[in-house]
């Protein structure tokens, strides 16, 4: 792999941590650095709030702090999901979707006749979509059509049965796009966790073998082997323990570790999901920064006055660079990580523009201020909504074993 300057560092990168989602050391390095950045951001935010108004405009400070807070929330959701497993991650993303749909529908006017259809959208299609995603990759053919086909057919039929013809097509479209953006698209993010990742040439995404890390006999990895929750892991831990007690009689402990066949260490899907969320969020930041620095040509003033071509180009290029720098956390390799990150940035941009369009149409500035005091989940995940399916399908088609 690209980054392996010293054997010790190599071993560190290959260490594995228990739970039913593999969190390898690479992921942990990624998580750790992001957490460090977030801590710094939170401290900066607190310091900014104490500044007099002349040095820091309160509106900018509030926006900054709100963003940092939202990132902490995302971080917490991802981490707790990783710690409690695939199903937990799916459930948490399901709750995010539910809340986003809530904001979406609250903002779009509906009529009395839509009530029952709304009910089924919230309490049947949203849970069903996440149930199918939670089922895993075998259910791919179902969760990939559930909302675009079946919910999209159900919605107009149910509204028609309710008997209110007024602005029929408009009402149908509102509900369909709400489900598509808030539920269907977002559900592709946790689905990344259940892909059988491969590298570009179709080989399993293997970072190395366990023998390599055992050879360096870092105490960290042996502790982790004991903590593994899977039956297989527990067995090997036991054999290791008995081997070690034998070893106390005189043989060197390294023999005990060497007895099991060298185990392959696969790359971590959790790390890949984290990589995805990270580049989407940072591409937003990059676009904002470049827009502030160089922004001249506004793309669509009536839709969003702050999105400029300069910001977009600068943001996408910076994201490409970031993708390359973080390629060690993905199966894409240095060559493909950049273009994929760029595509994700473009899709995220498309998402932000679409959501701005909807907001301008409804005359609301933020989903958050729509009902004051709420965090405005949709404001924060608009780019994820559009980028998740793109990232998922690229990864699934080119970098996973479809079988």
């Amino acid at each position: 792999m690209a980054i392996a300057p010293a054997p010790l560092f190599d071993a560190l990168l290959l260490a594995q941590f228990g739970g039913n989602i593999r969190l390898d050391a690479r992921t942990n390095i990624l998580l750790g650095s992001v957490m460090g950045i977030l801590i710094v951001a939170a401290i900066v935010g607190m310091a900014l709030r104490r500044q007099p108004e002349s040095t820091a405009s309160p509106a900018v400070v509030t926006t900054f702090n709100r963003r940092v807070w939202a990132w902490w929330m995302m971080f917490a959701i991802l981490i707790s999901g990783f710690l409690f497993g695939y199903v937990a991650t799916v459930v948490l993303f399901g709750l995010v979707s539910f809340w986003a749909l809530r904001e979406f529908i609250t903002m779009t006017p509906t009529r009395r006749g839509d009530h029952r259809t709304l009910f089924w959208s919230f309490f049947l299609f949203t849970p069903l979509q996440y149930f199918l995603v939670g089922w895993g990759r075998e259910a791919y053919s179902l969760y990939t059509v559930m909302i675009p086909v079946y919910a999209s057919l159900f919605v107009p039929a149910r509204i028609a049965i309710s008997g209110d013809p007024k602005r029929f097509l408009e009402r149908v479209a509102k509900l369909q796009s709400g489900l598509l953006i808030c539920v269907y698209a977002v559900s592709h993010a946790p689905a990344i966790l259940d892909l059988e990742l491969t590298t570009a040439d179709g080989q399993p995404w293997v970072l190395g073998t366990a023998a390599a890390s055992a050879a360096s006999s870092s105490p960290e990895s042996s502790v982790v082997a004991n903590g593994k929750t899977t039956g297989k892991g527990a067995n090997s831990a036991q054999t290791k323990k008995s081997a070690e007690s034998k070893a106390a009689a005189g043989t060197s402990p390294s023999i005990g570790a060497a007895t099991p066949a060298p185990r392959q260490i696969f790359g971590s899907n959790a790390g890949l999901l984290f990589f995805f969320v990270l580049i989407v969020q940072l591409s937003d930041v990059f676009q904002y920064m470049w827009g502030q620095l160089l922004g001249r040509t506004v793309i669509a003033p009536q839709i969003n006055a702050s999105r400029t071509w300069e910001g977009l180009i600068g943001g996408v290029l910076s994201t490409v660079l970031l993708g390359i720098l973080l390629s060690w956390a993905t199966p894409f390799g240095i060559v493909w990580a950049g273009p994929i990150a760029g595509l994700v940035a473009l899709a995220g941009f498309a998402g932000s523009m679409t959501m701005s369009g909807i907001k301008r149409d409804r005359n609301v500035k933020d989903y958050g201020t729509l009902v004051s005091g709420h965090a405005g989940v949709l404001d924060r995940i608009d780019s994820i909504c559009f980028a998740a399916p793109v990232f998922f399908h690229i990864t699934r088609f080119f970098f996973s074993n479809i079988g």
């Binding site: 904001e103 529908i105 609250t106 009530h115 009910f119 919230f122 009902v371 004051s372 005091g373 709420h374």
Partner: protein, 201 residues
Amino acid sequence: MKLTVSVLAITAKLISGATVRWHECQPDTCQRIYFANHTSHLDALVLWSSLPGPIRDLTRPVAAKDYWGQGAVRRYIARQFNALLIDRDEIKVHQSPVDMMIREIGLTHSLIVFPEGGRNTEEEMQEFKSGLYHLSKKRPDLELVPVYIDNLNRVLPRGEFLPVPLLTCITIGPPMWLEPKEPKNEFLKRARDAVRRLKDL
């Protein structure tokens, strides 16, 4: 008892996702009449849940007996949130709702009332019924607090029994009183405007 009350209040908050805004008005345990627009069966429950705990314990929503008195579940919930059930069909002279309210609140409790009478299906609020006027005529010391409930009619419209969990907003406005010698119609119009003004905040 205390536990079911909390569970009920939390459930109501979760379903309605209500944001509560106190506008030129502070939560207080003094005796008040909260009067609000009426758009959904959930109005009384949600407004009551959105009050801070200590105030909630002292506040009794006035609710329609023909809805909340029907069936064991509704009766149970109504009892839990300490509702004052008013029989809308059978208003007797010697047992007028206003007298009953005054008797029930004594010198400690507050009330939640919906002066529009029935639930409103139109966009615009209906004219207020005179109950609020008679109430404050008899007890001029009570603070009258206008409340605007936004979007709750979409959560549970008339004739539906399954709620859709949209986000609602409750705005509690500055207290008002019945002015000495204020005519009934003027007062009711003023009260209605006080509620309507909160909509645009």
